[in-house]
């Protein structure tokens, strides 16, 4: 592939010795800048303590991410500090923990609004404008829904081969949900936002965020205690990266996002009851794993329908959860699933709109979800008011998120040879109301993205845009590494680190003191040896190496690799 071509990117070079050298050379403005002003412009007095310095570094990084033009660039910059991926919490919606309720609410900063004693937990008055219309549409779908239930849930009508009981039930539920959506969407085909919608079937939905206020573990405390600089910060709470996953069966996507349920100044959104602090997530039974920060929402950035009207989930995970923890734990497991799934979905959408784990929202995002096994239904509405939960914002945030979870309702009592008994038309009306709820177009929906929004409109050349997109897809693809990250074996820890009993062994390993000592945790994503360009295929004979990935300019040349400091000429060296 040809690697160098014209474009503004070539003019920006990375100089390790003097960061501003290139600015001095290229930043020649036509008008001379006066050195004198009327009042002295003193620079701000910075707090030089370690804590403040670390916070400033974080803030600068967040500020850089906020200023990037597209979602792809923001995601790559978010992954930039970690070449081997973040050591992040595996926060899967289908793996609730028996002790995890408090942690889930803290990690997503969500207040669960469950009304006790009937009436359903869904927000009062949110569906008032669409409920009457939904009730008139129910008679049109009742027969078809009954037929769907009869087809899928009475004994073995659709043959899919001999499968275990649980797989059969899962297929039945998924087929029912797919059929139900088809019936409702077909009946509501004339409604503009349904007509214009796009459907995701079993989409991959993941979201990444930083959670602050977590107490450090003993290993981290020991490292801090052993150094004079960091001794006093031994017990400071830390940030943990969290990788959330949601696994819906269906996602109905529309162009406009749902209107807010409660305004931002409502007490439910600002001062609801939440857990004040948590333990290390591993205390609740969660596990960590190394993974790149992945935020996807069923599609790559660039689709027209960016908001989701409704997500439909399967209750399959509850089967093994109930076997392990009993029937009484079912409600708790369901609550955790809806919480994690809703937050992940909402945050993934927020990230695609330019907000994210380090960029605060400017308007709330609302998600509707329903979880069912065909017969038992739980509906939920989620309002995302804050997406930044890092540092002090996990506990000290002016806003919190809200989840409304309804009581469990049955869609039908039983299905026999005679037909379906006891179809719950009221529940059907609520589901149709969820479809009918119309989104509102926002003024300035993406304040943190460039007006053009898309990567293909970046000023860099075509080749850079293509390669950057492939790089972005690769990083977010969960593909395993071909070459494993450096590992200190246990015998090395014993004989080389803890009790140094091999004095004549040459220090060649990555953790040993020599010229090439490296900490794998500190290796950045753009810290890789550049590919050499053989002389016969070079366009410019002085440009020996390919450019390096960069979140702002997509790819840039390394200053010190260029022979004789010959900067490639844009016009002359354009690729074909």
């Amino acid at each position: 592939m040809s690697v160098y071509s014209g474009g503004r990117c070539l003019q920006v070079l990375r100089s390790q010795k003097c960061p501003t050298k290139h600015l001095r050379q290229y930043n020649k403005s036509a008008v001379g800048v006066s050195e004198y002003t009327d009042t002295p412009q003193y620079p701000p007095i910075l707090d030089k303590s370690k804590r403040a310095t670390w916070q400033r570094r974080k803030d600068t990084w967040h500020h850089n991410i906020n200023n990037l033009a597209t979602v792809e660039q923001k995601m790559v910059e978010l992954n930039m500090p970690k070449y081997y991926g973040y050591w992040s919490l595996r926060f899967k919606d289908v793996q609730p923990n028996i002790l995890g309720d408090d942690f889930c609410r803290y990690a997503t900063r969500t207040h669960i609004h469950e009304e006790e004693g009937g009436g359903g937990g869904l927000p009062m008055g949110y569906y008032d404008d669409v409920r009457p219309q939904a009730e008139t549409l129910v008679p049109l779908v009742v027969d078809k829904v009954e037929q769907l239930i009869d087809l899928n849930f009475s004994s073995n009508k659709i043959h899919r081969g001999d499968k275990p009981v649980r797989a059969t039930r899962r297929h039945q539920t998924e087929n029912f949900l797919i059929g139900l959506h088809r019936v409702i969407a077909g009946t509501l085909g004339s409604v503009p936002h349904i007509e214009d919608s796009m459907l995701d079937l079993r989409p991959r939905v993941e979201a990444f965020w930083f959670l602050g206020g977590i107490p450090p573990d003993s290993m981290l405390k020991k490292t801090k205690k052993n150094f004079t600089d960091t001794k006093e910060y031994e017990n400071d709470p830390i940030d943990r990266p969290i990788q959330g996953t949601s696994s819906p069966v269906l996602g109905l996507r529309v162009t406009d996002g749902l209107p807010e349920v409660v305004p931002w100044d409502d007490p439910l959104a600002t001062s609801a009851t939440l857990p004040e602090s948590v333990l290390d997530p591993r205390a609740y039974g969660y596990k960590f794993g190394k993974k790149h920060a992945t935020t996807v929402t069923g599609f790559w950035p660039g689709e027209r329908q960016e908001h989701t009207q409704l997500w439909l989930h399967n209750q399959d995970f509850l089967h093994s959860y109930k076997l392990e923890f009993g029937e009484e734990a079912a409600r708790d497991g369901l609550r955790q699933k809806m919480l994690v799934a809703s937050f992940t979905q909402a945050l993934a959408h927020a990230t695609y709109l330019g907000f994210g784990p380090v960029t605060e929202l400017t308007y709330p995002l609302v998600q509707q979800s329903a979880i069912s096994d065909g017969q038992h239904w739980n509906l939920s509405v989620y309002q995302l008011n804050t997406s930044t939960l890092h540092s002090h914002l996990a506990q000290d945030n002016p806003r919190n998120n809200i989840l409304w979870l309804s009581e469990e309702e049955k869609l039908f009592e039983a299905v026999e040879d005679g037909g379906v008994k006891g179809l719950n038309t009221s529940l059907l009306a609520t589901i149709i109301a969820m479809y009918l709820k119309k989104g509102v177009p926002r003024e300035n929906p993406t304040p943190y993205l460039a007006p053009e929004k898309r990567l293909h409109q970046h000023p860099a050349c075509e080749e850079y845009r293509e390669n950057f997109l492939s790089f972005f897809h690769d990083v977010l693809s969960n593909r395993p590494r071909a070459r494993l990250d450096p590992e200190m074996y246990l015998w090395e820890k014993i004989y080389k680190v803890d009790f140094k009993t091999r004095p004549f062994e040459s220090p060649k390993r990555f953790f040993e003191d020599h010229y090439n000592k490296m900490d794998p945790g500190k290796r950045r994503l753009d810290d890789y040896p550049l590919r050499y360009i053989p002389k016969p295929i070079r366009k410019n004979k002085y440009v020996k190496f390919r450019p390096r990935v960069h979140s702002e300019h997509l790819y840039i040349y390394d200053d010190h690799f260029l022979v004789k400091r010959h900067y490639p000429d844009d016009e002359k060296d354009k690729s074909h």
Partner: protein, 435 residues
């Protein structure tokens, strides 16, 4: 490839062999313990007097009879049943999803006793109205989403370019598997079609991954079609017959292709001795008639040409129609009056083939009446769907495919609305309140 060093490698098998040889030769030396103990007055006994000698293993016990599974679903396969069935079952040619006949469409015709007309029925073509720009936009969006913008990243089969780059292993591709993109696109197109019909077709039921199986005796050979379809769209009303009784009677005079000396059962695989004997239709509800069978051909590189593709379309359509007729217990005379009509859509990424089959007879050796299949040569829905400088681009979109799909989707509607109207009238007269 791992960059880590191998520290100490030993061949465990050789090590084990060496130990076995050397240690096996060891003899227990006389330590003098026996004499010492006897001198001290402690009784010493020969181990052979206490321990029983090694005895030969007992012959294998007969397995207990097969217990049905806890869920109550009867299974044809069990260990004891299999062994019994193997000796008793006649060898049967099983044609499954992957079977592509060597001799192409003529072979499929001979297997299914079908005549092929190379144009879709007039009723379908009449309803295949040209697409509006709005419809085109929606379909293009659906294609882009299913084949490009879906964020699933799964490991894809490696495709090696042996001619231009021999011995070169490309990086393992990750992306959207074909099974997934076919399913997403088909479902979205069905939703679009339902919307365009104004929601009148929502009474049709959808079944995913249904398996249809039907066994036939065809000129001394036993053959079975076992097909897994992507989607089966079933309707409460049957599709109207396409060819009238006269046309069906005329099929006697039309010549069937002849592939002599090749037998219609020529196949890469030999006939099976273990197969499932139970016939079934994927959606075993007698009130739901098959409307459209949508086949997802998920081969990443299609190994057959246009004719092979057409033959697979025909066999799929036939297997579903025949399985349905078998389920209802229809005889040939009943089929004469009300033949089973099934529509089929076969898709593999861009290639789409549509067809309509009318099942007139289940007797595959019959020459006075044959089944009829209307189809068109396959068409491409689009030619390529890729990112070009980070811009999603769809090239070569062909609007004709969607208009033909519309034509297929509209079949069975007029009759349905007529029947529904009559049903409502009857109910009104009968009961008065209920609608």
């Amino acid at each position: 490839m791992r960059g880590t060093e191998v520290l100490l490698r030993q061949h465990l098998h050789r090590q084990f062999k060496t130990y076995w040889l050397t240690q096996g030769r060891r003899r227990v030396p006389d330590t003098g313990a026996e004499k010492l103990l006897a001198a001290k007055g402690i009784p010493v006994v020969d181990p052979k007097d206490i321990l029983t000698p090694p005895y030969p293993r007992q012959p294998t016990l007969e397995l207990p009879p097969h217990v049905p599974n806890q869920d109550g679903v009867p299974r044809n396969w069990s260990i004891s049943d299999k062994l019994v069935q193997e000796s008793q079952l006649e060898p049967c040619y099983v044609f499954d999803n992957h079977f592509c006949p060597v001799m192409g469409l003529p072979q499929a015709q001979l297997l299914t006793n079908t005549l092929v007309h190379w144009s879709l029925p007039q009723a379908v073509l009449d309803h295949a109205t040209p697409t509006t720009p709005h419809e085109d936009d929606r379909v293009k969006e659906a294609i882009l989403h299913a084949h490009l913008m879906d964020s699933t990243q799964s490991k894809l089969p490696r495709i090696l370019d042996v001619i231009n780059r021999p011995g070169w292993n490309d990086r393992i591709p990750y992306g959207i598997p074909l099974s997934r993109s076919n399913k997403t696109l088909t479902y979205q197109l069905l939703l679009l079609l339902d919307q365009m019909c104004g929601g009148v077709t929502t009474h049709r039921m959808l079944a995913e991954n249904a398996i249809s199986r039907v066994t036939f005796r065809h000129s001394e050979c036993l053959m079975q079609f076992e097909h897994v379809s992507g989607f089966v769209v079933s309707s409460p009303h049957p599709l109207p017959r396409v060819a009238g009784q006269e046309e069906v009677a005329n099929t006697e005079r039309e010549p069937m292709p002849d592939i002599y000396p090749v037998s219609p059962f020529v196949s890469v695989l030999p006939p099976k001795t273990q197969y499932n004997m139970q016939d079934q239709y994927g959606v075993s509800v007698p009130d739901l008639y098959p409307h459209t069978v949508i086949i997802h051909n998920n081969a990443p590189r299609l190994r057959c040409n246009s004719e092979g593709f057409a033959s697979m379309t025909l066999m799929f359509a036939f297997s579903h129609a025949a399985a349905f007729a078998r389920m209802l217990g229809k005889s040939d005379t009943e089929l004469e009056n009300s033949p089973v009509v099934v529509q089929v859509v076969n898709c593999n990424r861009q290639q789409y083939q549509l067809g309509v089959l009318q099942l007139n007879t289940l007797d595959l050796t019959r020459s006075d009446r044959r089944n009829l299949f209307w189809t068109q040569p396959w068409q491409q829905l689009f030619s390529s769907c890729t990112f070009k400088a980070a811009l999603p681009v769809l090239d070569g979109y062909n609007p004709e495919v969607f208009s033909l799909l519309k034509g297929l989707h509209m079949q069975g509607l007029a009759e349905a609305t007529e029947l529904t109207r009559k049903e409502k009238e009857v109910e009104k007269d009968g009961k008065g309140d209920k609608v």
